[in-house]
Subunit: 187 residues, 2 copies
Amino acid sequence: MTNKPTPRPGGRSARIQAAVHQAVQELQKEQGRAGLTVPAIAARAEVTPSTIYRRWGDLAQLLADVAVEQLQPEQPPADTGSLRSDLLAWLVEYFEEMSSAPGRAMLRDVLGTEGHACAGKCDGFLRQQIEVINERALARGEQPIETGLVIRIVVAPLMYRILFANETPTAQAIEALFEQLVSSADA
Amino acid sequence: MTNKPTPRPGGRSARIQAAVHQAVQELQKEQGRAGLTVPAIAARAEVTPSTIYRRWGDLAQLLADVAVEQLQPEQPPADTGSLRSDLLAWLVEYFEEMSSAPGRAMLRDVLGTEGHACAGKCDGFLRQQIEVINERALARGEQPIETGLVIRIVVAPLMYRILFANETPTAQAIEALFEQLVSSADA
C-alpha cells in the first residue's frame, strides 16, 4: 500500500482514490481476480494507468490498499452488557469474517505485499476495537483485559490456524482460548 | 503451488522442476523480484513459458512453490542434551530466519498465494522439527511437550508479531514465551 498521507476528503486525490477503489471492487465482483489488471481498473475508474502506478506502485499494492480499507471496522463492537460477553462476541464475529472466503482473500492481499503498512493497519484496527471494549468496561467499573494479552492468547493462535492450517475456527475453539485468556488475566 | 504429485526423483518432471526452481533463485539473486517474470524464468531454465504455466498455473504459485522448498529444513534440530535447550535453541533459530529479509519474502510468497498447500507445508515442516525434538526427549526419558501447545503458546504469537507488527522477535521475547510454555506444559 502507499505510504503517502491519507488524502484530504473531497480533494482531487481523495476522489481519485475513491474511484479507483470502487473500480477494483466492481471488477472483482463482476469478473473475479482474473479481471483485475491495471489497464482494466484504470478504464473503469476513468483515470490513466500511470495515475495508478504513480499513486500505488503496482497492482499488488493497490489490492492491499483496498483490502485494508475493507478490514476497517464500520462500527464499534456491540455493547452486550459486560466486558466478557462484549469481547467474546466480537472475537467470534471477527474470526468468522477473517476465515470466510472474502476475509482470506483480504489477508492474502495484505500479507502478500512488500512493506508492512497494510498489515500494521490491520493490527491497528483490531487493537482499536479491543480498546473500545476495554474503555466501556472501565466505564462500567469492570477490570479491563490488556489488549496485548488478548492478541497473544486468543488472536494469534486463531490467525495462525487460519493462515497456516486452513482451519475455520469454531465458536468452541474461540471460547476455549477465551477461557485461557480470562484465567491468565485473573492470575 | 501445484497440487500435482511430487515428481519422481531423476524423472523428466523432476528435472524440469529443479531447473525452474534454480532459474527462479538465480534471477532473484541477480535482479531482485523485478526480474522475475515467467518469460525470463523460462529462458533461464531453457523450458517454454507454457511448461511453467501448465505446471504451476502462474508466477505467484511458482514463487510460493520455490519459497516452500526453501522453508524445508535441511537438517534436524541440533541435539543440545535436553528437551528444553533443544526446543529453545531451535525456536530462536527459526524465528531469526523467519524475521530476516529472505524469511519475510518467503512468508509473503507463501501467504500471498491462493490455496493453502504451501502454507500447510510450512506448518508441516515446523511440526516435524518439533516432533524430532520430542522423540529425542522421549528416548532420553524426558517428558515431551505437545507440538500443538508449542505452536499455540510460542510460535503463533511470534508469527503474528512478524506478520502484523513488523517486529523482529528478540531472544528475550522468545524466552519469555518459552517460560509460559514450560509452565503450561507442567500444569
